[in-house]
Amino acid sequence: MSLRLVLIEDHQALREGLELLLGREGCDVVGAAGTAAEGRVLVEDLEPDVALVDIRLGDDDGIELTRHLLDADPERRIVLYTGSADEDLLFSGLDSGARGYALKDGSPSELVGALGAVAEGGTYVDPRLRPALLSRRSTERLPTLSNREREVLDLLAQGLTGEDIAERLVLSSETIKTHIRNAMTKLEANTRVHAIAIALREGYISPPHGSEMSSR
C-alpha cells in the first residue's frame, strides 16, 4: 500500500513538483497546502501516514505548526523539510517532536526513504546533518547512560524497532521501552530521534554505518 502523504510547502512550484516527484516514487499525496493554517486543516481532516512540513512557510513557521499538530496528537508523524543546515534550526526542529528532518539537498528517492521510515514509526535525520549533530560536544555533563541504554539507543540509530531490539537482546518489549524512556529522561530528549541525536552529539553512541541515520 502506498504512503498517504500531506505536503505543506509554501513555494508553489516546489509543492507541485514534489507532488509529481513523490507520486512517481510511489507516494499517494492526498493533500497539499501552501500555508500553516491550510496544512493544519488538511492533516486534521485527512490523518495521513506522514506529513512533510517545510520549516519556512512564508510568514508562517513549520516548526510551530508541528508543535500544534503534535500537541493535539503526539502520534502524528511529521518530517520537517528545509533548505537550511543550520544547527540551531535542527535542534529546534527536533525539540518540536518531529520524527524526521530532511534537507532539500536530498534526492526524491532519499526523501521517500525518510517519509517511509517515519511513517512506519521510525525516525530520520538527513545524513548531511551528522556533522552538526556531532559538533555540539558541549562541556555540560549529562547523566551517564547505562551500558544497556547506550546499546538500545545504538540499535535504534541503526534502524531497529523496539521489538527488533527486544528480540536481539532477548528482553521483553516493555523492558526495551523502559530503557528508551530512561535514556530519553537522562538526555532530556523529547523524542526518540532527539535522544539519538543527543547521544551521537555527546559521543555515547557512534554514527550508524551507511549514509543515513534512521530508525524504525
Binding site: 516546489l14 513538483g17 516527484l21 512517481r24 533548505g83 532539500k104 534526492s107 526524491p108
Partner: protein, 71 residues
C-alpha cells in the same frame, strides 16, 4: 561593519542559501528523472523540462537580486 550589520549580512546569506535550494530541488529532482532509465512520456518530458527551466530562471533572478543587494 557593526555587529548588527554582520548579523544582517549573515542572515541575508542564510536566507539566500535557503531560497536557492528550493528551486534547485526542482532542478535536480526532475533532471534525475530525465537522466534515469525509467521511461518518461514525451508530454511528461516537456513538462519536466519546463519546470527545470522555470526553476533555473528563479535561481538566476535570486542570484541577480543578491548581486544588486551587495553592490
Amino acid at each position: 561593519m557593526s555587529a548588527d550589520g554582520t548579523d544582517t549580512a549573515v542572515s541575508a546569506a542564510r536566507r539566500l542559501r535557503h531560497d536557492l535550494r528550493t528551486p534547485l530541488t526542482i532542478v535536480t529532482g526532475f533532471a534525475e528523472i530525465l537522466a534515469a532509465d525509467r521511461p518518461v512520456s514525451d508530454e511528461d518530458r516537456r513538462d519536466y523540462a519546463q519546470r527545470i527551466v522555470a526553476a533555473a530562471e528563479e535561481i538566476r533572478e535570486l542570484i541577480d537580486a543578491a548581486k544588486l543587494a551587495g553592490e
